[in-house]
């Protein structure tokens, strides 16, 4: 039955080459922890992606309750945390996942650096990876404000003060992020938009490029 459905779609869309491209690739011995346990360092990239998927899914569920305005934001998070069934777990996953993704990405970066995998011909993939790192830090910074509690608000005040201290573009960058002079209603909606639409969009594009390049070039050989 499944085979028939597959054949029916394949006859119309010719998905076999695509399916083989996605699913069928080699796992060389030197990156396979089943053969050399020390190869677990090659898992950090995959784990970063795994946690990223957790972040996307838990974030999607959080927006079912979250209200991005300064009067209701805190109340909606409080409600989610204390009243909604399993809300505390979903919010906990998003909160801890944010830290975990940074940790995993840091370890992945160190692995790539110390195995010299960023060298020719993989320079572009390294650059895309560092850009993903920046996007993740941006997601962490903007997401921190959204619960609109004390630590969120004052961390953002300090963060935007630091941004403002940059020469030439500082004032512009702060106005763009804060949406005006004061850090208030406009800032929250901007951070929400950046956190939920702009940065995830950029992240998905960069991840696509990252994976395309690794598949095209193959993983770097053993040292």
């Amino acid at each position: 039955m499944l085979q028939k459905i597959y054949d029916w779609i394949d006859e119309r869309l010719d998905i076999t080459p695509m399916w083989r491209d996605i699913a069928d690739h080699e796992v060389p011995e030197h990156v396979n922890p089943a053969h050399h346990f020390s190869a677990f360092v090659y898992c950090f990239g995959g784990l970063t992606f795994f946690v990223t998927v957790i972040q996307i899914l838990s974030g999607m569920f959080l927006t079912m309750y979250y209200v991005p305005d300064i009067i209701h934001a805190y109340e909606s998070v409080y409600f989610l945390q204390n009243e909604v069934t399993h809300g505390v777990i979903v919010r906990g996953m998003h909160h801890w996942g944010a830290s975990l993704v940074i940790v995993m990405m840091f370890l992945h970066t160190l692995r790539v650096f110390f195995t010299g995998s960023y060298k020719k011909p993989r320079e572009l993939n390294w650059v895309v990876g560092v850009l993903i790192f920046f996007v993740m830090l941006g997601l962490g910074f903007t997401g921190y404000l959204l619960p609109w509690d004390m630590k969120a608000y004052f961390a953002t005040v300090v963060g935007l003060e630091i941004a403002e201290s940059a020469p030439v573009i500082g004032g512009f960058a702060k106005a763009l992020l804060a949406g005006g002079e004061i850090i208030g209603a406009q800032t929250l909606t901007r951070f929400f938009a950046i956190h939920v639409f702009f940065l995830p969009g950029a992240l998905l594009g960069l991840l696509g490029a990252h994976f395309y390049m690794i598949r095209k070039q193959g993983i770097s050989g053993p040292l």
Binding site: D10, E11, R12, L13, D14, P17, R20, A23, D24, E26, P28, E29, H30, N32, A34, C43, I54, Y74, E75, Y78, Q81, I89, G92, M93, H94, H95, W96, A98, S99, L100, T109, L110, F113, G116, S117, K119, K120, E123, W126, V127, V130, F133, L137, F141, W148, D149, M150, K151, A152, Y153, F154, A155, V158, G159, I162, S165, A166, I183, S220, L223
Partner: protein, 259 residues
């Protein structure tokens, strides 16, 4: 693949009519013990992923995400702290060479050089050697950078007053004894409820009645004579009831005789 004249397509589409068999590539001649990602490796990866997920869920259940009280922009005494992975950047701004008139150095120049070098690493280290020991300059700079990040984060955590931080952000929560006689009196006071809420914990126009630390006598005085933003003589009841309610309010929502 068929090329040129005689090509066959599915209907009038551009999909070739000739079906390709869906068989995996052959890795048997690759060096070492190379195996296929699908399904051999993926199955094992999923099992590791499941263990990882269980550990992760245990963490979220054991430690719920923190939530402080609602943001109050007027509370200028609050000591701010960014999330832990920004602490090293934050700590940098506390040193003399990177603060005050030199803030630009700590906020832009040093992080700019560090992250710029990270981004351009493939062009800064162009040698063909991959082993870290064979490219000592690149490796030692990276080790130094990692050590500095760890050191700065450590210093920041060490210098922060965590007890004061927990206190300044704590959610102020009053437990109101709704079984008490005093609460029964409250439920009859529509004027009070209009602003302070049916649960005594504040509403649209006024804060929780327990917010300030007044004595019983001061509470009676405020109810009788009003306060800034609160009209006088709104209580409708006997003096005895007023006294019981005031004592209840002064005692943060518990019957004073229960203690």
């Amino acid at each position: 693949m068929h090329r040129g004249k005689g090509m066959k397509f599915v209907g009038d589409s551009r999909i070739p009519a000739e079906r390709k068999p869906n068989i995996p590539k052959d890795y048997s001649e690759y060096p070492g013990k190379t195996e296929a990602f699908w399904p051999n490796f993926l199955l094992r990866e999923w099992m590791v992923g499941a263990v990882f997920l269980v550990g992760f869920l245990c963490l979220t259940v054991a430690h719920p995400a923190p939530l402080e009280r609602m943001a109050d922009p007027t509370d200028s005494g609050y000591i701010p702290l960014p999330d832990w992975y920004f602490l090293f950047l934050y700590q940098l701004l506390k040193y003399e060479f990177a603060s005050g008139p030199y803030t630009v150095i700590g906020a832009v120049v040093i992080p700019g050089i560090a992250f710029g070098a990270l981004l351009l690493a493939p062009w800064l280290d162009q040698g063909p050697e991959r082993r870290p020991i064979r490219r000592p300059i690149a490796s030692s700079i990276m080790l130094l950078a990692v050590a500095s990040v760890i050191f700065l984060t450590w210093e920041s955590v060490d210098q922060h007053d965590w007890e004061a931080a927990a206190q300044q952000g704590a959610i102020v929560d009053f437990e109101v004894d709704e079984e008490s006689y005093a609460f029964e009196i409250w439920t009859t006071q529509q004027n009070c409820i209009n602003c302070h809420g049916g649960d005594m914990l504040g509403g649209a126009a006024a804060p929780a009645v327990f917010e300030s630390d007044y004595s019983k006598e001061e509470v009676i005085d405020i109810i009788k004579n009003g306060a800034p933003g609160m009209p006088a003589d709104q209580f409708e009841g006997t003096d005895e009831e007023l006294e019981i309610l005031a004592a209840f309010i002064a005692n943060d929502g518990q019957d004073p005789e229960d203690d």
